[in-house]
């Protein structure tokens, strides 16, 4: 077995037992990348030289007998919308193809403080807008389980790199399902934490009130370890919550007897692939057999979640992406006659079609005369969804359903039909709207041998419970 196939917790143990060295791990990862990434195309950029240098240094510290944090010497892949000082951060957009941030995102500072080693920056849908990673301005990432299929998105590069053993750990970002859906389609674990538990400082904003950074890993234990490393209050992010975080690895205990599971019928209705439904329900039966109680119920407002999402997320995006105007950094059109033409040409040439679609949608819903009908109403409906989830959590410890309505689809299959693509987020979007945590865990494969993921949703700040349930799946 190659080292790149192992998990962070396994490698951590071996490092401390002096069975392996950090450079061996890093070399194994790059060997795997060199072997597979021509096909998979998970990475936009790689940091091999720097990573090997850091590996050697980290090994020295292990050799010196230092007591190092859990992620010391562990390779990690970073979604290319998270700012890394001195390393290009493109958001898979022509607009930022040469943008080198002058600062590190807070999560990157935290990872560096732990001694984690950045392998490279992974591909995504441009500015994290999409569900297939086909919207990258540079290349399409492929699903390691079937190269003709998409890896999901928008964190498709991160999920594919973990699934293909082209890294050990990865960070993704999740605005409407962008961690959980690709994790599900690639057969790995993806955790979307409660809004406010992980600092957004340095995450290039898509929809500020929904974005959250989280782990994509090979197993639940790694997800807990990585979440431990990146959570916590940040004085650079006003929306980050000041609270005591438990050691999330303490959640990793066997036994779920007495657990109350709610199954919303909206997650098992029309539009959900029957094979996926079946596999999820079979897994739920297994949890029942382990002592959980299961009850079907309804969250009626979930039916409006997608509409609410595409209003709120697009509105925020239209404002967040206005700064890409060709004046300060990033792409600028070759020649323009006057300021307005500079803006028009820069933005027409720099953004891809999906990004433009959402900017236009967002601009429209915020326009005078339309604000009340769309944005304001969506905010009210958002409150309704939150309340219905709150109510559900007075009865259930977790809410379970499929992560994605289908398994991985073919490249090009949905890219001509945005609405169909948007439906792929139907199970994940309500969670972002409610600001609560959810984890996707692989629970098997369908008849085409493609992975199926199950989503476990918890109440706000109760990552302990969903990690525990995921660990017991």
């Amino acid at each position: 077995m190659e080292l790149c196939e192992l998990t962070a917790h396994e490698l951590g143990k071996m490092l401390r037992n002096k069975e392996i060295t950090v450079p061996q791990i890093v070399e194994s990862v790059y060997k795997s990348i060199e072997l597979k990434d021509n096909d998979i195309k998970a990475y936009i950029s790689l940091q091999k030289e720097e990573a090997l240098k850091e590996a050697a240094e980290m090994q020295k510290r292990f050799d010196a007998g230092e007591d190092l944090p859990p992620l010391a010497g562990i390779p990690i892949t970073i979604k290319d919308n998270i700012c890394t000082k001195g390393i290009k951060t493109t958001c898979a957009s022509k607009m930022l193809q040469d943008f080198v941030p002058p600062y590190d995102a807070t999560v990157i500072e935290k990872l560096k403080a732990q001694g984690a080693i950045i392998v490279g920056k992974s591909n995504l849908d441009e500015f994290a807008m999409g569900g297939s990673t086909e919207n990258s301005a540079f290349m399409k990432t492929r699903n390691p389980h079937n190269l003709e299929c998409v890896p999901g998105g928008s964190s498709g590069g991160s999920a594919a790199s973990v699934a293909a053993n082209e890294t050990i750990l990865a960070l993704g970002s999740d605005t409407g399902g962008s961690i959980r859906q690709p994790a599900s389609l690639c057969g790995v674990v993806g955790l979307k934490p409660t809004y406010g538990t992980v600092s957004r400082f340095g995450l290039v904003a898509f929809a500020s009130s929904l974005d959250q950074i989280g782990p994509i890993t090979k197993d639940v234990e790694d997800a807990a370890i990585l979440f431990n490393a990146i959570c916590g209050h940040d004085e650079h992010d006003a929306t980050s919550v000041s609270m005591e975080h438990p050691d999330y690895t303490k959640a990793l205990e066997k036994g779920i007897s007495g657990l109350k599971i709610g199954l919303p019928k909206e997650f098992f209705g029309e539009g959900i692939n029957s094979e996926v439904k079946e596999i999820v329900l079979k897994k739920v039966e297994e949890l029942k057999a382990k002592g959980a109680t299961v009850e079907e119920f309804s969250i009626p407002s979930i039916d409006y979640a997608l509409s609410i999402y595409y209003i709120l997320a697009s509105a925020e995006a239209s404002s967040n992406l206005s700064r890409y105007d060709g004046v300060k950094y990033g792409y600028r059109t070759e020649s323009a006659d006057g300021l307005n033409e500079l803006y028009e040409k820069t933005r027409s040439e720099g953004f891809g079609p999906e990004v433009k679609r959402r900017i236009m949608l967002g601009t429209y819903v915020l326009s005078s005369g339309y604000y009340d009908a769309y944005y304001k109403k969506a905010l009210k409906a958002r409150t309704l969804i939150r309340q219905e989830f709150d109510k559900a959590f007075t009865k259930y410890d977790v809410i379970i359903g499929p992560t994605s309505p289908t398994t991985a689809f073919k490249i090009g299959e949905k890219s001509e039909n945005p609405l169909e693509m948007y439906l792929s987020d139907v199970c994940t979007v309500p969670v972002n709207i409610a600001g609560i945590p959810a984890i996707s865990v692989p629970i098997g494969t369908d008849s085409k041998n493609l992975p199926v993921g199950m989503q476990i949703i918890g109440k706000a700040f109760d990552e302990m419970t969903i990690l525990k349930v995921a660990y017991n799946v």
Binding site: N81, R200, S322, V327, K328, L339, S367, Y375
Partner: protein, 477 residues
């Protein structure tokens, strides 16, 4: 037809916090281009704003000083528009829930007091500055000013003349300086003003269509621009035309304005709640804490000067119009000097020096302590008023005490009758012609003789004693 004008103001004041509103960069004016900025205030991808608590404190201070209700719950919003001096392409401001609202200020114009409503005061960030052709052809952006905190003060359309608008601006400037939240330097752009003007037939209660005027760089420019706009609107209406909703730009050099954009081109700012920042929630304790920390405001001070110190309204008005002058005055009076004497010095000799040297009272060499010494020496009779002026002149340049200067220059008033008597006898002996005149009934000869004794004493003899002794001596002859 006779018209009445209706005027409202929108005033932007830069707050004098040490750091910017959303990052820790300095707010200092005049740094090298693009040296007072960071990834946050230049709107780099991924950065987030963090609200500087001082900005809220300063704005609440301003709100309380202008009799506003302070909102216990307010929020910040994004105002979206493209311009190269606005790096995020949105300004973080406040839209429907401002920090302060429903206040008022009293102004005095032509002896009458008038109350002007303050609609709202909200916090927002300043934009950068465009530098045209500063380095060869083309426009570059200086982002030092990006994120400098501002308050925008919006008034009710309660003013009816340019004079009233000017008086309100002066009042607001004085208050902001008193509470120490803005230095209000119009030439550095730390106080800026837009005006809304409309006209209506005199006696009407229905306002006419208003226009907005921008780029007013001084109080006098504001007054001129308002008067210009009133006349322009009159001409349009008289000629049978209609006033159209537009934004106009004042050109101070030509003393005229031109249309910048009409209603059709009005921007849609697409305001929406800033998702990166939490609502601003304030409790009574916080608000009351700030209220009690407010210094005495100009209106109160004015009343106190008249009531407790019996100062004339004229003096009280001039002294309280400047925070620094009034503080200087208060210090001197608190040290025990007679208020009117202090006021006379400040409004007389001191103001003259300040004007001549174009300095502020804070840069003035003579401290209140020294002024009090000087006044006390006059009141004790140690020096004459004339001698006091000489001491004042020396104090302007030298670091000496009043006592030292009096001694060195021999300015002490001689009150010793026997010493003065000797001089009186000598002067009478040497001025027999005046003595003859006096005997003939020319009483003004006394004045001449007093002058001669003063001259003999080099100005140091007490004139009242000289006078008394001369009359005595003449009568005894």
């Amino acid at each position: 037809m006779e018209y009445e004008s209706v005027i409202g103001l929108e005033i932007h004041a830069e707050l004098s916090t040490k750091t910017k509103i959303f990052c820790s960069c300095t707010t200092e004016f005049g740094g090298d281009v693009n040296t007072h900025c960071c990834p946050i205030c230049t709107g780099m991808p991924g950065t987030l704003p963090m609200l500087n608590k001082k900005v809220v404190e300063y704005a609440v201070k301003a709100g309380l000083a202008m009799n506003c209700t302070i909102s216990k719950f307010s929020k910040q919003d994004r105002k979206n528009y493209f311009y190269p001096d606005l790096p995020k392409a949105y300004q973080i401001s406040q839209y429907d829930l401002p920090l302060c609202k429903n206040g008022y200020l009293d102004i005095e114009v032509d002896g009458a007091t008038k109350r002007i409503g303050i609609t709202r005061i909200h916090i927002e960030e300043d934009a950068g500055k465009l530098l045209h052709n500063a380095w060869g052809n083309g426009t570059l952006v200086d982002m030092n000013r990006c994120g400098v905190p501002l308050i925008e003060i919006v008034t009710e359309p309660d003013m009816r003349s340019a004079k009233e608008a000017h008086a309100l601006l002066e009042k607001i400037k004085t208050i902001l300086q008193y509470i120490d939240v803005s230095d209000c330097k119009m030439q550095e752009g730390s106080l800026r003003c837009d005006v809304n003007v409309s006209i209506m037939p005199k006696g009407s209660t229905t306002f006419g269509q208003r226009t907005e005027m921008k780029n007013l760089n001084s109080f006098s420019a504001t007054e001129k621009a308002i008067n210009f706009e009133i006349e322009r609107q009159k001409e349009v209406v008289e000629a049978g035309g209609k006033i159209t909703q537009e934004t106009r730009r004042w050109d101070d050099e030509t003393s005229s304005s031109y249309s910048m954009r009409s209603k059709e081109n009005a921007q849609d700012y697409r305001y929406f709640p800033e998702p990166d920042l939490l609502p601003i929630v304030l409790d009574d304790e916080y608000i009351e804490g700030i209220r009690t920390s407010l210094p005495e405001l100009p209106d109160k001070k004015y009343a106190r000067y008249i009531e407790s110190y019996k100062l004339p309204e004229y003096d009280a008005n001039l002294l309280t119009a400047s925070k620094d002058l009034s503080e200087y005055f208060d210090k001197a009076v608190n040290l025990g000097a007679t208020p009117k004497a202090v006021s006379n010095w400040i409004l007389g000799d001191i103001s003259k020096v300040l004007n001549e040297e174009s300095i502020t009272i804070n840069e003035f060499k003579i401290t209140p302590e020294k002024l009090v010494e000087l006044i006390s020496e006059i009141e004790k009779g140690t020096i004459s008023n004339t001698a006091a002026k000489s001491v004042f002149e020396v104090l302007l340049t030298e670091d000496k005490t009043v006592e030292e200067i009096i001694k060195e220059k021999g300015l002490a008033q001689v009150n010793d009758e026997s010493a003065i008597k000797e001089m009186v006898e000598r002067v009478i002996a040497n001025n027999q012609k005046s003595v003859e005149d006096y005997k003939k009934g020319k009483t003004n000869a006394v004045g001449y003789l007093v002058g001669q004794v003063m001259k003999e004493s080099r100005g140091s003899a007490n004139p009242q004693i000289i006078n008394k002794l001369i009359v005595e001596a003449l009568n005894n002859l």
